[in-house]
Symmetry: C2
Subunit: 224 residues, 2 copies
DNA sequence: ACCTGAACACCGTTCAAGT
DNA sequence: ACCTGAACACCGTTCAAGT
């Protein structure tokens, strides 16, 4: 038996950037970005707030790191394969990651430091488009429209909370009675939401795929 | 001359929800959403922070109101006209409003109270699609894909700061040297950014219209 | 009815001091 | 090298008190 050094072996493992980022991600996932605080994060790690600054430069650096962890979860497309299938897979995988970490899309605004995982995914997207035969110019267009759509859809989905088509339908019905007074000026909203969504519901997955395929089909038509 | 009542006529006009919202919008436009603070907003209005609570319920209510002011600036489409032209105009006008108020898109996440101007624009979009001949189901799809694209594009544009194609090209060239060590693993990024964007630049307006027309053309093809 | 002073329970971050 | 206590300059919001 080794001599009992003044050991603190039951103590938490030492802090590291990795551990700080992981804990921050877990905290934001559970309680939302608004509740992510240097002080609360430190408490979660059994440490004082000021210790975090040994591993991240500041809160912005922390968020940059967290966001790149989200990008690390994305399945990058493989250049040279079936380009439409590969890009479809990447889009679905990106949306899934943004749904697992709902705080992410709201924090992406204004951020200019793209992390390595982000760059890796985008390199793969560009490579897939080039291998499919798109010109340099068209490759830029094609990535831009896909990214805007994917992030924008995720932004909208964090907007209204009901998740299942059925819940959505219930909310739609409720709103029809809540807003009753204003509705005389909103005939088309009444027709579409009251007459369709309120009974058919709103299926986020199907809705996402509709737009995604519309865009991918449109791009295919532009191939030389 | 009227009797000099104990007047404070040189005083600021009395507070009102309208005046509070306008001042908040001006402050956020000038200094960004991060600098919008109940205390700073009050100072701007020559008043103490606590007075604001007579006109807005809390900061969230303030942001709801500000966002609806942004929607009020959007040119709604006119149902029954040339549907593609009308929806194109609405998309361009939405992007312009989001560019004038760059804080807005980042604050839209998680918000579930849609204001009257928001509802009015969306009612007009739905009406335009219905008048064009889209089914109820397809109308929902069509609005969803357009909104996702418009908001997502705005989100991306607040990401990287350079505005003109030339500035963008300069940044692209700079990045090619900054990231030099990582670039051996990012061949496609080097090809596209280094070989195209670095000299042609990146034109946000043209880029936006490319994706917008791709989507509108795709929708047209789905008309009965 | 509208405004305010003081207070409460928080923030991110710096800095000198500890081990 | 890593951690911390105390402090600074802030936050949003409540509440009782003023006019």
């Amino acid at each position: 038996m080794p001599p009992a050094t003044k050991s603190r072996s039951t103590t938490r493992p030492p802090l590291s950037r990795e551990r700080v980022l992981r804990a921050a991600m877990a905290l934001a996932d559970e309680r939302g970005a608004g509740d992510l605080t240097m002080r609360k994060l430190a408490k979660e790690l059994g440490v004082e707030a000021m210790s975090l600054y040994n591993h991240v430069a500041n809160k912005d650096d922390l968020l940059d790191g967290m966001i790149d962890l989200v990008f690390a979860e994305i399945d990058p497309p493989v250049p040279g394969g079936d380009w439409k299938a590969e890009l479809r897979k990447r889009a679905v995988s990106t949306r899934a990651a943004l749904l697992r970490h709902r705080w992410a899309v709201g924090e992406m605004e204004g951020r200019s430091n793209h992390g390595p995982s982000n760059l890796k995914v985008h390199d793969a997207v560009l490579g897939t488009l080039r291998a499919a035969g798109f010109s340099l110019e068209m490759t830029v267009h094609a990535m831009s429209v896909q990214d805007a759509y994917i992030y924008g859809f995720a932004l909208q989905q964090t907007d209204m909370s009901p998740e299942s088509p059925e819940d959505f339908a219930a909310v739609a019905r409720q709103q029809m009675t809540d807003y009753a007074d204003a509705l005389s000026e909103l005939p088309h909203l009444v027709e579409v939401v009251g007459g369709h969504v309120a009974e058919a519901g709103y299926d986020y997955d199907a809705e996402f795929l509709f737009g995604l395929d519309l865009i991918l089909d449109g791009l295919e038509r532009l191939l030389p």
